[in-house]
């Protein structure tokens, strides 16, 4: 089959072409309908192989000039069909990383990832949420005889920041797809273990996906912009603690509310929430081996260093800033996206009880909060076509 490009010059030519298309039932690629064929306008027609010569003869007869746009349609189709790539065995076939996924899908994804990459990935129990759901983290570790330092990354501490769990999933996929071929990643894994918690606030995330009850159950979500966890207070009349105000780092001192109805309610006490305890207990146990603590949020485009609770700089603030600035520069190098770098208390607002502050306070030298895209145009409701560029640049 061939695709011909014709620009009819006269009305008679247009008429002849319309006649050809309808009698031979030719496949019009541009325009869509014969009645939209105009003199002076581009015409693209696909001609089935057995008719090619006849059509060309007819065009010659009527002095209609043409160019062959595509000499072999089948060849083009074959080239663009994805082949069975065995190197992608490691990643679940068909898992679309450029779409947002429900918690159920993420649970399935974790199981699948471990199954297809068992030489590198293991899934582990971390704890339970207030609504009794299981929290799992993935450990990516290359077998070796020495103990390696750890980089911990958690996503989805705030339910509405959907781009954050999307990034954790993307990150895992990228590592697994490229660790054999990318020298940077393979060197990384020789010396470091990666611990990834794709969704910290599972109950909150699920709640932000819950459909509105009655009318039009298809698209309406009850509360897409939910932030906190789902712990009940005041006899079930109020829900949710802000998990990122609940850690034991100057808990309850600044940038919080003691009122459950607030989005920044810090809970009834430090580590009052099971989700907080699950993370804190684990990190406390492993802290002597943890080199870097990363927590992923949105939005704002910031790389935030300690502290939020005070403007007093951390002991290694120069080093922290140096690394963060390098990261921001690398990030910008990809798509020009600019990230601001600095301590939360100086460039954003004061807040206590954050996981990042707590990690640094217990001795983890490198502790950062990433606030991913964007700067407010879409805010928490980032369109899924920005998942790929956001993840690529952050990677």
């Amino acid at each position: 089959d061939q695709v011909l490009h014709i620009v009819p010059e006269t009305f008679q030519q247009v008429q002849h072409l319309q006649h050809l298309c309808s009698t031979l039932l030719l496949d019009l690629w541009k325009p869509l309908l014969p009645e939209d064929i105009w003199a002076g306008e581009d015409l693209h027609i696909r001609v089935p192989a057995p008719l090619v010569q006849d059509v060309k003869d007819s065009l010659d007869q009527h002095m209609i000039s043409y160019k062959v746009l595509i000499p072999d349609v089948q060849e083009l189709v074959d080239q663009s069909t994805p082949r069975e790539r065995s190197s992608h065995r490691q990643v679940p076939e068909g898992y679309v990383y450029t779409q947002y996924h429900s918690m159920e899908e993420i649970y399935q994804w974790m199981t699948q990832i471990q199954k297809s990459n068992s030489e590198l990935v293991t899934q582990h129990y971390l704890g339970k949420t207030i609504e009794n759901r299981t929290m799992y983290y993935l450990k990516i570790s290359q077998p070796s005889d020495r103990t390696k330092k750890i980089i911990w990354m958690d996503c989805g501490i705030h339910a509405r920041e959907w781009i954050s769990p999307a990034f954790c999933q993307w990150f895992v996929k990228e590592i697994l797809q490229n660790y054999k071929s990318d020298p940077k990643i393979s060197r990384f894994l020789q010396n470091l273990d990666l611990y990834i918690l794709p969704v910290l606030n599972i109950d909150g995330y699920i709640y932000s996906w819950e459909k509105a009850s009655s009318e039009n159950p298809g698209t309406r979500l009850k509360d897409r912009l939910w932030r906190k966890n789902r712990s009940p207070h005041m006899n079930g009349t109020c829900y949710g603690t802000d998990l990122n105000r609940n850690f034991n780092s100057s808990w309850g001192s600044i940038g919080v509310s003691y009122n459950c109805s607030s989005e920044i309610f810090c809970g009834s006490g430090p580590e009052s929430e099971p989700e907080t305890r699950a993370v804190a207990q684990f990190i406390e146990r492993k802290k002597s081996d943890i080199l870097c603590y990363l927590t992923i949020h949105s939005y704002g485009q910031y790389i935030l260093t300690p502290y939020g609770s005070t403007t007093k700089p951390p002991s290694n603030s120069e080093e922290l800033m140096y690394v963060a600035k390098k990261a921001a520069a690398a990030l910008m190098g990809k798509y020009g996206t600019s990230y601001e770098v600095g301590p939360t208390s100086l460039i954003l607002y004061k807040n206590s009880g954050s996981s990042r502050d707590w990690a640094h306070m217990i001795g983890i030298p490198f502790s950062y909060t990433f606030e991913l895209r964007d700067k407010g145009t879409h805010g928490f409701v980032l369109p899924h076509d920005q998942i790929q560029p956001t993840c690529e640049e952050t990677m």
Partner: protein
């Protein structure tokens, strides 16, 4: 610091056309936050160096599209939960963005940072004159408190006139359902 009056900020900024990222214009502004009385919106003075790009064509297309509707426009959840905005709703979203800028200005202090988070509901109101009127229920996100604040605003617009917010009111927290 201006004693007994408030805090004044001098700003130099660059305005970027949402519909054409390469089109920018420099701007200088002075913002005065009043001391004490938290109900007074900040004073804003500004100068634009050069001209804003002409949007007449896009304005007229949108205006005529709405005028030619058989029934008054009604829509919900712009963008939807996955961030999608149907192309025909894009001007409705932009109009809300502009109008919310006014509401944000009127309710800003030195300790707030507002963004339009979502349009929950928009309904066109029939008018006998040439203006278009839309009744919006929006959600504003306030960065410091992290609160999501429902707000109602009535917006008036015509291609040759600037956007007007004729009425706006903060809604109780559960009004967005």
């Amino acid at each position: 610091d201006i004693d007994d009056v408030g805090h004044k900020y001098h700003l130099e900024l660059v305005l970027e056309d949402v519909l054409d990222k390469d089109s920018t214009v420099n701007c200088t502004a002075e913002v005065l936050y009043h001391l004490g009385n938290k109900n007074l919106p900040p004073d804003v003075q500004f100068t634009i160096e050069g001209e804003l790009k002409n949007a007449d064509e896009a304005d007229n297309i949108f205006y005529n599209q709405i005028k030619s509707l058989e029934k008054e426009l009604v829509a919900e959840n712009i963008p939807d939960s996955h961030g999608n905005v149907p192309p025909e709703m894009e001007p409705i979203r932009l109009l809300a963005w502009v109008a919310s800028g006014y509401v944000i200005w009127q309710n800003s202090t030195e300790n707030t940072k507002f963004q339009l988070a979502q349009i929950k509901h928009v309904k066109q109101v029939k008018r006998s004159d040439e203006y278009l009127e839309f009744d919006y229920r929006i959600l504003l996100h306030e960065m410091v408190s992290q609160e999501i604040i429902p707000w109602q605003m009535t917006v008036l617009w015509h291609p040759q006139h600037s956007v007007q917010v004729t009425q706006d009111s903060r809604q109780p927290k559960h009004a967005s359902e």
